[in-house]
């Protein structure tokens, strides 16, 4: 069989069929492998969880999170005041809310959600999020 392989004239139909099938199996296996590696996290993911940088970088990130949320709260309050003519009350309320949002941002950052300000990823086991919300 191996002798015949190089010469298509001498290859019988069944041989050719099995060869094609082999090829297809081969492609199948390679495809499966590629699909697995596509969905599997790479080695990089370990490093992403631990944010790079030193203490100064961390302090800087915390302060940026705090101040940016505060600024957004202040801006929203100011604009609402302009619109509703309620100066300065809504600005004061939204200043407090902005401060709370800033603390929330920092809390989420520190909770190991990497850089995410939002919820980040879901905890692996169900119910773990519930515990976290109860302030475990």
């Amino acid at each position: 069989m191996s002798d015949n392989r190089n010469d298509p004239e001498n290859t019988s139909a069944s041989d050719r069929f099995s060869e094609e099938k082999q090829d297809l199996d081969d492609i199948d296996a390679r495809l499966r492998k590629a699909r697995e590696s596509r969905d599997k996290p790479s080695k990089l993911s370990m490093r992403i969880k631990a944010p790079p940088g030193n203490a100064l970088g961390l302090a800087f990130r915390v302060s940026v999170e705090l101040v940016s949320a505060l600024a957004v709260g202040l801006a929203i309050g100011w604009l609402l005041d302009q619109w509703l003519d309620t100066r300065p009350w809504l600005m004061l309320v939204f200043l407090l809310l902005g401060g709370a949002a800033g603390i929330l941002n920092v809390y989420r950052m520190a909770k190991g959600m990497g850089y995410a300000d939002g919820y980040g990823e879901k905890p692996p086991e169900h119910g773990a999020g519930q515990d976290a919300e109860n302030g475990d």
């Binding site: 996290p41 990130r61 957004v72 939204f94 709370a100 949002a101 929330l104 519930q130």
Partner: protein, 244 residues
């Protein structure tokens, strides 16, 4: 004139190269625009010329191109999952643009466009609006549950929803300020210490050594901030695609 030249902030000055005006909008071609054009050309040349051989065994240049591709491809895969592959070109483009902008800014006498809040904020706003539109298109009205954490009593909603909305709106600001402030602070520090070198005479070797060390650190920061920008874009995209 001399004092103006030695100001550590003079390097951030915007200079009009080709004045242009559309109506009342000043759309001049500035040194900042020039650096952006050079960056785009630089990135394109780096990628296209590096891959022109299509070698099975890559040379040094092709290795660098492939490495940067794989780096961002893995980043997208790990943070967003397989759904994120559709957005890989966008994230790769942002990463390369910011990275090359930062690195080109390290060339003496050049200009760092990422040290301007206008540029970084425009980038961040683009990401923010894009990600929000993706989330709206994918989840329709369900998107707004994003501002209401699961398992929260309804009584808390009037307090929590505004906080969540503010937290969400602060994203483009923290994203842009982080990049801008890092580049601004680093380049200013370099210039300040470089100014000491001459004025201290013989003792100037100490600030000189410091400037050398700082230059190395600046290259790390140039890469790190581009990486942070890309990873944050990925995380926001992940939130948009998967909500919570």
């Amino acid at each position: 004139m001399a004092a103006e030249k030695h100001s550590p902030l003079a390097q951030f000055e915007i200079k009009q190269l080709i004045p242009m005006e559309f109506g009342s909008v000043d759309a001049s071609f500035t040194n900042s625009s020039l650096m952006m054009v050079l960056t785009v050309i630089g990135v394109s040349a780096f990628l296209v010329l590096g891959m022109r051989k299509h070698a099975h065994v890559p040379g040094r240049w092709q290795s660098m191109v492939e490495l940067s591709y794989i780096f961002i491809a893995n980043l997208v895969k790990d943070t967003v999952g397989s759904e994120g592959r559709a957005y890989f070109p966008f994230i790769f483009t942002i990463f390369m643009f910011v990275l090359f902008g930062n690195l080109f800014g390290m060339v003496p006498y050049s200009f760092t466009f990422t040290s301007h809040i206008v540029v970084t904020f425009a980038l961040a706003l683009f990401v923010f609006i894009g990600v929000t539109l993706i989330a709206l298109a994918k989840h329709k009205m369900h998107f707004f549950t994003f501002f209401m954490p699961p398992g929260v009593p309804l009584l808390m909603a009037p307090l929590l929803v505004p906080i969540e909305i503010i937290s969400y709106l602060s994203r483009p600001i923290s994203l842009s300020v982080r990049l801008f402030a890092n580049m601004l602070a680093g380049h200013t520090l370099l210039k300040v210490f470089a100014g000491f070198v001459i004025s201290l005479g013989m003792a100037g070797v100490f600030p000189l050594a410091f400037v050398v060390a700082l230059t190395g650190l600046e290259f790390v920061i140039a890469f790190l901030q581009a990486f942070v920008f890309a990873i944050l874009t990925c995380l926001y995209l992940n939130d948009a695609l998967h909500l919570h």
